[in-house]
């Protein structure tokens, strides 16, 4: 398959002015001393997307994913490097961008279509389809300013999807509109996939990536930090998100500390900054949590736990088994029977704050349930060597099918991911009866007869 999009060494530089001086007077006043910061929104990004692929771009806010998208669409130009696209590109950054409120729906279709690069002749040929898709037959000759926001978005989407693109670039526009409209958007995306079109989705939703993408990349601070299958990308994204969260939290805490210290009376004993910080940190952390285990943390300040040397010791998942409960006497996992998920680990150090997690998905990537020790007050400590985490379920409610499973081991505060296997395991379930659906809910069904003493109506 040919390459649809080739991103070659793309960087994008912005100057962030702390104040934007757009008038000459201000420029003169601040001549040569306008404070600005150099900001690289993209740093030397290399990427190839094959034709027919649905590609996800994951990243937190400000990671540069939208900048990359805008460069790919040709809305802005990179500072260096180049992007080659093969085929017609449609970028859905905003539905109905450039609609003229004073013009009718009909006129706006032609204007918007030509903005997206469609010819008038082509729009003539599919005009009725566009109107039908937008469900605006009655209102097409009304001025757009009288449209509801829903009608507005529908019209924008209808025009956009009719432009027959080879490459469709979507920037989370699928997240707008009501449920029915979202359904329609998704159906269109699926249809585009079937037709072998290339789709690039920009999102910060891992679920969306798992649901629709073939491949995905992760951007962080303008650099490409992960590339691969959706599962790998999601894992990499998670890790970066957690690291970033830790960084932000740390910043917040330092701030709180400085506040606390400036509030403190001179008489109060403040040891060295370093020591004060270490003990205060756990106190702040404990107070911030409303978990039932807050007490545990407060009574047991784990100063040592925080300094778990991630770089030196490792904790890895060595195997994952799904076993029928010992009491069931079966050799397979059966609906309604007991089940155990066994995670084998090997460790080279001592970890005092280990939280193992099991998450089960359906085949669309929707999370069905998660189990972890996060909410339980028990602390799991792992010593050097190997062992197993055993998750026991008394009654497994899933019905017949194969379910992707993610297992992971993190620290309690989730700042550290010891090991994470994103949807690398499959839970196969067998159902003995012919129940349909996703889960088995035991039900007792009885019949209540109406009392004979109640007189029939009408006499």
């Amino acid at each position: 398959m040919a390459t649809a999009i080739e991103v070659r060494g793309v960087s994008k530089h912005f100057r962030l002015y702390h104040e934007q001086f757009t008038s000459l007077k201000e420029r003169m006043l601040h001549w040569g001393k306008v404070p600005y910061e150099d900001f690289w929104a993209l740093k030397d990004v290399e990427l190839e997307i094959q034709e027919g692929q649905t590609f996800g771009l994951l990243g937190h806010n400000g990671s540069g994913k939208s900048t990359l998208l805008k460069c790919t669409a040709g809305i802005i130009q990179p500072t260096s490097g180049e992007i080659m696209t093969r085929g017609r590109v449609a970028a859905l950054l905003e539905l109905g961008a450039g609609f003229q409120p004073a013009m009718s729906g009909r006129e706006n279709i032609y204007l918007n279509a030509s903005l997206l690069g469609m010819s008038r002749k082509y729009v003539d040929s599919c005009f009725d389809d566009i109107v039908a898709f937008a469900e605006l037959e009655q209102f097409i000759d009304n001025q757009v300013k009288y449209y509801s926001s829903g009608m507005y978005v529908r019209l924008g989407f209808a025009v956009a999807v009719h432009m027959d693109p080879d490459i469709l670039i979507v920037d989370e526009v699928l997240a707008v509109g009501d449920e029915l409209f979202q359904r329609k958007c998704f159906d269109r995306v699926r249809q585009f996939q079937r037709e072998g079109r290339t789709i690039v989705v920009v999102t910060h939703s891992p679920d969306l990536v798992r649901q629709v993408c073939d491949r995905a990349a992760v951007l962080d601070h303008g650099s490409l930090v992960g590339l691969g299958s959706p599962a790998e990308a999601v894992r990499s994204y998670r890790e970066h998100l957690l690291r970033r969260q830790a960084y932000l939290d740390a910043g917040e805490m330092t701030e709180m500390l400085t506040l606390a210290q400036s509030d403190a009376s001179p008489a109060a004993e403040v040891p060295s900054l370093q020591a004060g910080r270490a003990s205060d940190t756990s106190a702040v952390e404990g107070a911030a949590r409303s978990d039932p285990d807050t007490a545990v943390h407060d009574s047991d300040p784990r100063d040592g736990a925080r300094s778990t040397p991630v770089g030196e010791s490792t904790l890895t998942i060595s195997y994952v088994h799904f076993e029928p409960g010992h009491s069931s006497g079966k050799s397979y996992v059966e609906t309604g029977a007991a089940m155990e998920v066994v995670i084998g680990y090997s460790s080279t150090g001592t970890f005092t704050d280990v939280v193992p997690t099991v998450t089960v998905y359906d085949n669309k990537g929707v999370v069905l349930f998660t189990a972890s020790t996060k909410l339980s007050p028990t602390e799991i400590e792992v010593t050097p060597g190997s062992g197993e985490f055993v998750f026991s379920f008394d009654s497994m409610p899933l019905l017949d099918g194969d379910y992707p499973v993610t297992v992971g081991v993190t620290s309690y505060d989730e700042y550290t991911v010891y090991d994470w296997q994103e949807q690398q395991h499959t839970l196969s379930v067998i159902t003995r009866n012919s129940q349909t659906g996703l889960i088995f809910v035991p039900a007792r069904i009885t019949v209540r007869h109406a009392f004979a003493s109640q007189a029939p109506v009408g006499t």
Partner: protein, 321 residues
């Protein structure tokens, strides 16, 4: 388990039909050559038409007189100039209304096109930020809309010509073609240049407004070219440098050509049978032709310069708006 709408199994190509046909290869890079840019504008020519139409219709939507309003402004100007210069100042130019219209026809297009184009990128910021299309198009659409309005004003001029029973100078009419070319090139060049500069520094738009006002009075529209030239030629004036500067105005040859072709006479007899000097007496077709060629050359060079400046700044439009 059976889900109501099953998505096609990914990883298998069974449901995927490979798309056929050639795919245009497009490159997004820091610099895009002028030829490629011109090509892109050509590909988007329908958008140019649609945007021109939009500029013309949106402005006067929901107004009873509608498009007439766009004619009213120049018409009022015309009346004011007529009253002030003909009736109060008694400039003695015969058929002054027609003389005025020749000049204002050119100037209205120029000023409307240039100032419209200057604000076009800022004014279209919603689409500049969200849609990829050649950024020159909004500026060109403003030129197109000014050109359309010029067409309507031409109709009014023709009606006046018929009413005054005043015929054009047929031999000079073909000169209107290079004159129009020079005019459109010049307006486009200046418009595109200012459109690009205005994104970062909004003063540019205000400066242009003032500049256009001075420029208007520096062009022989309400007074005659002879009124400026004659004192120089006969040695009455010491402001030769001012005249040289005046002659460098690229709009002057265009206006003069329009006046020569449509107003048609160089020194008509005014009140009392005295000849009034308006245009150069002994200037033939080539006198106008060479000047127009010079303006076309200058405007083309300026246009290339403007497009280069535009191209350099375009990459950041979406961010700076």
């Amino acid at each position: 388990m059976v889900a109501p709408t099953e998505l096609p199994a990914r990883g298998t190509d069974a449901a995927v039909t490979p798309r056929s046909g050639d795919r245009p290869l497009r490159v997004v890079a820091p610099k895009i050559s002028l030829r490629k840019r011109a090509q892109a504008v050509w590909e988007y020519r329908e958008l140019l038409g649609e945007m021109t139409r939009k500029e013309l219709t949106v402005q006067y939507k929901n107004s009873i007189l509608g498009f007439l309003w766009s004619m009213l402004n120049p018409a009022i100007n015309l009346v004011v100039y007529f009253v002030v210069f003909q009736l109060i100042l008694k400039n003695g130019i015969p058929r002054f209304a027609i003389y005025l219209m020749c000049g204002t026809l050119v100037w209205n297009f120029f000023s409307m096109g240039v100032s419209g184009a200057c604000g076009s990128i800022v004014g279209n910021s919603p689409i500049i930020k969200k849609v990829a299309f050649p950024r020159e198009i909004p500026a060109l659409a403003q030129i197109g809309s000014a050109l359309t309005q010029m067409g309507f004003q031409t109709i009014v001029l023709v009606i006046f010509l018929v009413a005054f029973r005043s015929g054009p100078a047929v031999a000079y009419l073909p000169l209107l073609v290079p004159a129009m070319l020079a005019l459109v090139l010049l307006a486009t060049a200046i418009g595109i240049l200012f459109a690009a500069l205005n994104v970062k520094l909004r003063d540019v738009g205000y400066l242009l407004g003032i500049g256009l006002q001075v420029w208007f009075w520096g062009t022989p529209i309400v007074y005659t070219y002879a009124q400026i030239r004659d004192p120089i030629q006969f040695g009455h004036s010491h402001y030769l440098w001012l005249f040289v500067l005046y002659r460098l105005n690229p709009v002057t040859p265009i206006v003069l050509t329009f006046q020569r072709a449509i107003y048609s006479v160089t020194s008509p007899k005014g009140a009392g049978g005295v000849a009034v000097h308006i245009l150069p007496d002994h200037a033939g077709l080539w006198w106008y032709g060479w000047q127009l060629l010079a303006v076309i050359g200058f405007a083309s060079a300026l246009l290339i310069f403007a497009l280069t400046v535009f191209a350099n700044r375009e990459g950041n439009f979406a961010e700076q708006l």
